[in-house]
């Protein structure tokens, strides 16, 4: 039997989001190490070497750079499939690239798994070979509004919201979801600011936020703009009551290195929290493995990327085959209990569109230099402090 199973991994390795790609590379390598080696973790494939279903075959990752360009993502997916003969593809950070890469996979009947793409439209295209184990923006946003509702019940005043989002597919999707939920649940959007990603200046934007002075500021921004946003807010004397961020930059170490002192009490959605290590020690150990490679703790992205490979490998193992269709069927039949992951998820189980609806998002608060889970209550390790300091 095959001694090696190739899995394609397409990420941005150059250009403005190269940092994500490079961190992702480390996360995938960590997962591959665990799968290929023997580790005493309660994680699928950890305790065995390689994939027992394929006679102990090892996972080999083939990385490709899509430079955030859908056309390149597509070409790379195709190259990985036809030249490198990968049996599955995982990607891709940018949802725009996932659109084309997954389409190519569909054509070649090779499963595509979104480790971290968060655009809700992705799984609604009727593709057979598309899967996403992680939550999408609507699920994330829903968690935020659930949280608001809960706070409101306790008497906290949350009436007005200010949205601040970049003009990309991610920002648009995120704000659309938030707008919809705000309408449904009776929150007033007092500012809906769409800005150009990687702007040289955000002072005009921040002024508008300041003028709106909403109860909650909800940014959907990547690291660069996040840093600039926080710095500009400080410079223009704007101290929001509370910030509830749509992850992205707000779960990146770089942002907290830069402006962490101004962000005490910021809340971000996510699908991962290190405080899970208290309940599941393996989370801490795996995090240490990752940290040794990358110098960083797992964050929302790297943890999802890590899990992406675990889920995929698990399916290949169960499929006992490298045939695309068989792997797809195995993926469709996945049912991984939450405690066998490093995530606070209920479990991994895909609906017919390939989306895992049991990937419960969590809300994390940045307190004393690290993140603690504050929502939902069953996962929370601390009470939210509101307003932020």
């Amino acid at each position: 039997q095959t001694s090696e199973v190739k899995i394609g991994v397409i990420y941005p390795f150059s250009g403005a989001s190269a940092q994500i790609g490079v961190d992702a590379q480390r996360a995938f390598e960590t997962a591959a190490e665990i799968i290929n080696g023997k580790y005493d973790f309660d994680l699928p494939l950890a305790r065995t070497e390689g994939l027992p279903g394929l006679g102990g075959a090892k996972i080999k990752l083939v990385f490709a750079d899509h430079q955030a360009d859908p056309q390149k993502g597509r070409a790379e997916a195709e190259r990985l499939i036809t030249q490198e003969k990968v049996v599955a593809v995982i990607g891709s950070y940018q949802s725009a690239v996932a659109v084309t890469a997954s389409q190519i996979c569909e054509r070649y009947q090779i499963p595509y798994l979104s480790a971290d793409n968060s655009s809700p439209s992705l799984h609604r295209r009727g593709l057979k070979y598309y899967f996403r184990a992680a939550p999408h923006d609507e699920m994330f946003s829903q968690a935020m509004f659930d949280f608001f509702d809960a706070l409101k019940k306790k008497g906290t005043k949350i009436e007005t919201l200010a949205l601040f989002h970049e003009d990309t597919i991610f920002g648009t999707d995120s704000s659309n979801a938030q707008l919809k939920l705000a309408n449904e649940r009776g929150y007033k959007i007092v500012a809906d600011i769409k800005y150009r990603a990687n702007s040289p200046s955000l002072s005009a934007e921040v002024q508008q936020l300041k003028a709106a002075n909403a109860d909650v500021l909800m940014p959907s921004s990547y690291t660069t703009d996040g840093i600039l946003l926080v710095k500009t807010m400080a410079e223009l004397g704007y101290k929001p009551n509370a910030i509830v961020a749509q992850d992205a930059g707000f779960s990146e170490k770089a942002l907290y290195d830069a402006v962490g002192d101004k962000l005490e009490g910021v809340i971000s959605r996510g699908s991962f929290s290190l405080d899970l290590a208290a309940k599941r020690p393996m989370v801490g150990k795996i995090n240490d493995m990752f940290k040794a490679k990358s110098g960083k703790d797992f964050n929302d992205y790297s943890s999802r990327q890590f899990m992406g490979l675990i889920v995929m490998a698990d399916a290949i193992n169960r499929a006992k085959s490298t045939d695309g269709e068989k792997i797809r069927d195995a993926l469709a039949a996945t049912d991984m209990p939450g405690d066998q992951t490093i995530m606070p998820w209920k479990r991994v189980k895909f609906d017919e569109s390939g989306q895992n609806n049991d990937a419960d998002p969590v809300l994390l608060q940045y307190v004393g230099g690290k993140f603690v889970t504050i929502f939902p209550t069953q996962a929370a390790v601390a009470e939210a402090s509101w307003p932020m300091k």
């Binding site: 590379q25 990385f63 990309t168």
Partner: protein, 334 residues
């Protein structure tokens, strides 16, 4: 006396036909879809660059905003198809015409500008359009347009796996762009354009309608580039503003021509054949490392080539000066 000239033009035509025939046969031997994909892109960029060359190379109006026409072509086709069910073949023509009209409308104020002012105006106009599309909800805004792929068909110009139809279309487009250039080169337009490029004041004094020359070049150039954009939309089957109107397209259209020889018949082809595979291969085979080595190699090669051959690679093929070009020396004092 003109025999040499006529022969040279004939020779160009024969060589082109010969190369096209060879190119057409290549897919019969090269089955690897990745390589085929690179060939499709190479031919597409060759066509785009050839078209860009008409306005910027021959007529000297350097545009770094041709992504605008590329994007307009892509969007017109995609919108007409997804929203109105118009077949891409018609969308292509529509996109071409719209682009040509817009090129002329923009030329009206822009062609008064000289040098860098013009270049920056082209960049800025393309960028404004990109931003407008990025914010235009009806056209999909940032989410772009996902062109649903049903089944292989020439009618809808969609093919799920095979690259061959795209290959042959791109080849045709490249041939058309080349032929248009060839045809125009030895026509009133060709001479007018080059005259306008070299010295507009002198051109004017020789009866050249400088403004309309530029307009003509802009229209032809934009039309062909838009066809390329339409093709791209079909080929990738997903478009969003950044990926069809971004500045990088404007550059990628210009670079092959500059590399190969700007304002020459063969330059864009030659440049594309070298540059595009280089771009793709460096990214594919060294880009995955995440260390930026592909950029170092790619950037370094561009510098090296452009400095080694500032007049373009076609100059490697130009014949040695013939002694017939001896200057007149009238020995009067003897």
């Amino acid at each position: 006396m003109d025999q040499a000239f006529i022969q040279r033009r004939r020779r160009d035509l024969v060589i082109a036909a010969f190369l096209a025939a060879i190119a057409a046969a290549v897919p019969l031997f090269v089955k690897d879809v990745y390589v085929q994909n690179i060939m499709v892109l190479t031919l597409m960029y060759a066509a785009l660059s050839q078209s860009w060359n008409i306005l910027s190379g021959y007529c000297g109006q350097i545009s770094l905003g041709h992504a605008l026409y590329f994007g307009l072509g892509a969007y017109t086709t995609a919108i007409l198809f997804t929203k109105f069910g118009v077949l891409p073949w018609f969308g292509m023509i529509a996109g071409g015409l719209i682009s040509a009209v817009i090129a002329m409308a923009l030329g009206y104020p822009c062609f008064r500008l000289g040098g860098h002012y013009f270049v920056i105006a082209t960049i800025v106009i393309a960028e404004i359009t990109l931003l407008l599309f990025q914010n235009w909800d009806w056209a999909g805004a940032a989410l772009g347009i996902d062109i649903p792929v049903r089944h292989d068909s020439w009618l809808t110009f969609q093919f799920t796996r095979s690259k061959l139809p795209y290959f042959y279309f791109a080849l045709t487009l490249a041939c058309v762009a080349w032929f248009v250039t060839w045809r125009l080169e030895d026509s009133k337009w060709g001479y007018w354009w080059r005259a306008v490029k070299d010295n507009p004041v002198a051109a004017e004094s020789l009866g050249v309608d400088v403004f309309n020359s530029k307009m003509g070049a802009a229209a032809v150039s934009a039309f062909l580039v838009a066809i390329g954009g339409s093709f791209y939309a079909q080929f990738v089957s997903y478009i969003d503003p950044e990926s069809v109107m971004g500045f990088q397209f404007s550059l990628l259209m210009a670079l092959p021509a500059v590399l190969g020889g700007i304002g020459t018949l063969w330059g864009p082809m030659l440049g594309a054949v070298i540059l595009i595979p280089l771009t793709e291969l460096t990214r594919s085979y060294i880009g995955g490392s995440g260390r930026g080595v592909d950029l170092i190699v790619y950037g370094g090669l561009i510098i090296a080539i452009s400095l080694a051959r500032p007049q373009g690679l076609v100059s490697l093929f130009s014949r040695k000066r013939k002694p017939a070009a001896q200057p007149v020396r009238e020995a009067v004092a003897s």
